[in-house]
């Protein structure tokens, strides 16, 4: 079920009414959430419900076994078993064909004759990368003794499948979300106010901006061979805004919907475009994934490589980012994208002291030059992310830089809304989110609400099956 579909507009009020009517009965509320979440997920393809239920049961049981065992060897074994099951399932659905394809190319290169196998027909289950990481994070936390294994089976199933954040995050941590299922829910007006604003803001970004930009972006990437430099560059820029509005819009709706149910989810975006370094950017973009990678991949690696000095650190960053690129999908474009970010982060770590001195000397200029550099590095690398293969990425990027800038094949007025958003959010950047307008004069507040609503309804992008970009990951 899509957040922007009419079915969801019917589904959500029904769930909310039932949920709050059951209020003193916490377990009944959780049961309702579980049923609602499975309906929400099963709306796409009910067969994959077995997969998510299986994944939850396996990790629930493994974590319980871990809790009962005092032997470190056995605990480690159980943790690796959980990793093997989760990554195995993810690997099969997401990477089997990628592996076979590359193997075939390798064999052909070595022997001059390709193997006879073709691609397997595997459908990617929605949200699998997200909930797999969420449930795997839980078993690792139990292994590290940072979280106690839960005995509440119902609550654990709901934790893994919680419908607001099931298909595209924020990837929650057990220590934040699981206790909330065990606590009593309180109905607060403040939650509804904030939740409502977040949902409105998320819809505005998704429907009025991201979906409105999609046709231009698709046009540019599909016709990249015949378009000139200015058009390719504009296309790349538009995709940057589309991606931001699509994904942060989804996150805002997810956090907002959870808030209506009395839950607090973690922040996933924090105005990334005003960052003055890529390290700062990654603390503000898809925060739930970057902190996941940081805790479970980068930190153990960097500790392992710690005697390698700064090169060890750089290697840990490179591996972590290349793998986080691969998490997005089975394609070399994602690996290259991740590796480029790993390299830039390594560069930043190696030059930290020097950059700090420059910043002191040049002040204001340094801040703005860094912001612009970070922004365009992101636009450039995101073009690789968007491209279907490296050849296309290269063609768009080289075309944008070297091609002619004499005319523009798309209507430049599509830039108006995203650039307006960039300016508006600059002034909002120290607030909780784009539409955190608490305390503003009521005419300003209501003008903003009205503007967002008008843009949403006039965009005609509601209920037209525009999936969120991150659903494919």
């Amino acid at each position: 079920m899509l957040f922007t579909s009419y079915v969801f507009f019917l589904f959500l009020p029904l769930v909310l009414a039932g949920y709050w009517a059951l209020k003193p009965y916490r377990r009944a509320q959780n049961g309702l959430l579980l049923v609602a979440s499975y309906i929400f997920y099963g709306w796409w393809d009910w067969r994959f419900l077995f997969l998510i239920a299986g994944s939850s049961v396996v990790d629930f049981l493994l974590a319980r076994q871990m809790g009962r065992s005092e032997s470190e060897g056995r605990r480690t074994l159980l943790m690796w078993l959980s990793a093997l099951v989760n990554l195995g399932v993810l690997g099969y659905f997401k990477y089997a064909n990628f592996f076979l394809e590359n193997l075939a190319v390798l064999i052909e290169g070595l022997t001059g004759q390709g193997p006879a196998w073709g691609a397997w027909s595997i459908i990617l289950p929605l949200g699998i990368s997200f909930y797999t990481f969420q449930t795997l994070g839980y078993t690792i936390d139990v292994y590290r003794r940072e979280v106690k294994p839960t005995r509440n089976f119902l609550e654990y199933l709901t934790f893994v499948s919680f419908f607001p954040q099931l298909v595209a995050g924020p990837i929650e941590r057990a220590r934040n979300l699981l206790p909330q299922f065990l606590a009593e829910r309180r109905w607060k007006q403040q939650d509804w106010l904030e939740g409502g604003r977040l949902i409105l803001w998320g819809f505005f970004k998704k429907v009025a901006i991201a979906d409105a930009l999609a046709p231009s972006v698709n046009y540019v990437f599909a016709n990249h061979e015949t378009l000139n430099g200015a058009t390719l560059a504009t296309g790349a820029l538009l995709f940057t805004f589309q991606m931001y509005c699509d994904f942060s819009g989804y996150s805002d709706i997810a956090i907002g919907v959870a808030r209506l149910l009395g839950f607090r989810l973690m922040k996933n975006f924090d105005f990334p475009f005003y960052s003055t370094s890529m390290s700062a950017f990654w603390r503000r973009w898809h925060i739930s994934l970057s902190t996941w990678i940081l805790d479970y991949l980068y930190t153990p690696l960097s500790i392992k490589f710690r005697y390698g000095g700064l090169w060890g650190l750089a290697l840990a960053l490179l591996i972590s980012f290349a793998l986080s690129g691969l998490w997005h999908g089975a394609a070399w474009t994602f690996v290259v994208w991740g590796a480029l970010h790993g390299m830039v982060l390594a560069y930043e770590a190696l030059t930290k002291k020097r950059r700090k001195r420059w910043a002191k000397k040049t002040g204001y200029w340094y801040t703005w030059a860094s912001r612009i550099l970070v922004f365009f590095f992101w636009v450039g690398t995101l073009t690789i992310f968007r491209a279907e293969h490296m050849g296309q990425a290269f063609s768009v990027l080289s075309g944008a830089l070297l091609g002619s800038w004499s005319s523009l094949a798309i209507n430049p007025s599509v830039l108006l809304l995203p650039v307006g958003l960039l300016v508006y959010e600059y002034f909002q950047r120290n607030r909780a989110h784009g539409l955190d307008v608490a305390g503003y004069h009521y005419t300003l507040r209501w003008s903003l609400y009205a503007f967002a609503l008008i843009m949403i309804f006039s965009s005609q992008n509601l209920n037209n099956q525009n999936e969120f970009i991150y659903f494919q990951f």
Partner: protein, 76 residues
């Protein structure tokens, strides 16, 4: 020199913050430059200076400077 003074010196050098003062209750939250990247550098410098070795689990489990100092003194 007391352990805390030596550790403070290492912190000031690695984090490039000349006026940094550490107390046992100081956490990474209190020191802006003390992040996941610099943490590992700090640990390596401390291991070298005192001629000790931390386990991976210790490195990722210190909650504040006090716990770090206790672990160092335990190994001396």
């Amino acid at each position: 020199m007391k352990t805390i003074e030596i550790v403070s010196e290492i912190f000031r050098d690695i984090l490039d913050e000349d006026d940094l003062v550490l107390a046992p209750e100081t956490t990474a939250e209190d020191v802006e430059a003390w992040d996941s990247l610099t943490h590992v550098q700090l640990m390596v410098a401390i291991e070298k200076r005192f001629g000790i070795k931390f386990s991976s689990r210790e490195i990722s489990s210190f909650q504040n400077v006090g716990e770090l100092l206790a672990a160092i003194e335990n190994k001396l």
